[in-house]
């Protein structure tokens, strides 16, 4: 036999679930308060490190025009520009920084975050010799870049990761175009 009415029972169900959700939410808010500043600081440091890697000394953020929709931010100093671009990789977006001097030559590239396949596309961002070699090829290039494998340019693609390599080139080209438009 039921000891309480149907309405009461439903209210009790909803109430318990609401209470659990409220406790979980409160707990999360607490954890978030601790971790949010740390995560923000980490992201800031990561971006700054990427700027410094491609444009020693960093730069000031400036306004820009962009037709590709890939350029996120542009920083300028007397040495040149650091352009943050976000091309679509093999799996998800690649967030990267491209350094370009005032003559339109690439100073260097640095990948901030990505979700490419470990051991393949991820090589593009790795601190290994293969990764350094891949990123090093871009230094000194200008105009437009591409991979020899796809016939879009002269650079060597990462073994087994043509799409990632081509995506990095697309990002670099967007950055080059953006800087060219800045004059």
């Amino acid at each position: 036999m039921k000891t309480e009415s149907n309405v009461m029972y439903v209210v009790r169900l909803a109430g318990t679930l609401l209470l659990i959700a409220a406790i979980v939410a409160a707990l999360l808010a607490g954890v978030n308060m601790v971790t949010a500043p740390i995560i923000e600081q980490l992201n800031y440091e990561k971006t700054q490190a990427a700027i410094n890697a491609v444009l020693p000394g960093g730069g000031e953020e400036i306004a820009f025009t962009d037709d590709t929709g890939m350029v996120a931010k542009v920083y300028k100093s007397e040495k040149g520009y650091a352009v943050q671009v976000q091309p679509a990789g093999f799996d998800g977006t690649i967030d990267m920084m491209v350094g370009i001097d005032h003559e339109g030559k690439i100073l260097g590239i640095s990948i901030i975050s990505h979700t490419e396949t470990a051991g393949l596309g991820a090589v593009a961002a790795a601190k290994t010799s293969a990764g350094e070699n891949f990123r090093g090829q871009f230094v000194g290039e200008s105009g437009s870049v591409g991979t020899a494998k796809r016939g879009t340019g002269t650079l060597d693609a990462i073994t087994g990761a043509t799409i990632t390599s081509e995506a990095v080139c697309t990002g670099v080209n967007a950055a080059l175009d953006c800087v060219a438009n800045l004059g």
């Binding site: 959700a21 939410a25 999360l28 093999f90 081509e166």
Partner: protein, 193 residues
């Protein structure tokens, strides 16, 4: 716009297939793939819920953005998905009993199908708008259906074949899935427009 939609369709169906390339929804893929008709039923149910969840979670995320509660997204999304599954189940039971009979047993399983939560999280991470999100959800579901139906049709035969004692059951099924994934690897690269 149209180009982006076609691109997403091709990616979700073939080159970035949810199961065979991205590994979302492996549990139902292994669990409900012994027969072609049940696999098809599961696929349809998942497609329906994925499209609906993508649409609903887009608005939920906008609300979370407004309230600056984005760190609650996982909790919010899973509750939305669980409620959608519940509502769809009740609605079908009342309004379309024939469809409920066909899909009914699969519906409760969908809440814990990581393809649904996966597609919602990907939509948010990629910043898709509401139309593209819904298309991505539906296309992901169709990709899931394609993979699970193909797999079921192979598995029906594999189960009758002879194989080493230790490989009987799931191991040989996983190896079959591996060979299917190998075939889908041929599609990689199609996604670039």
């Amino acid at each position: 716009m149209a180009q982006q939609i076609i691109g997403i369709l091709i990616a979700a169906l073939l080159s970035q297939n949810f199961i065979l390339v991205k590994f979302y929804g492996i549990c139902p893929f292994m669990g409900v793939s012994k027969k072609i008709d049940t696999a098809l039923g599961m696929g349809m149910a998942v497609t329906f819920v994925m499209a609906l969840a993508s649409f609903a979670c887009y608005w939920v995320y906008q609300l979370l953005l407004l309230l600056e509660l984005t760190y609650m997204q996982t909790v919010a999304f899973i509750l939305v998905i669980a409620s959608i599954v519940q509502v769809v189940e009740m609605f079908l039971k009342k309004m379309v009993p024939a469809l409920y009979k066909a899909l009914g047993v699969f519906l409760p399983l969908i809440t814990t199908n990581c393809a649904v939560l996966g597609v919602v999280l990907v939509n948010v991470a990629e910043g898709y708008d509401v139309l593209i999100s819904t298309v991505n959800g539906a296309a992901g579901g169709l990709g899931f259906t394609l993979a699970i139906v193909l797999f079921a049709s192979v598995r029906e035969r594999v189960d009758k074949a002879e194989c080493p004692e230790s490989f009987k059951g799931f191991p040989i099924a996983l190896i079959t899935a591996g060979l299917l994934a190998l075939a889908f690897m041929g599609f990689s690269g199609l996604s670039i427009f």
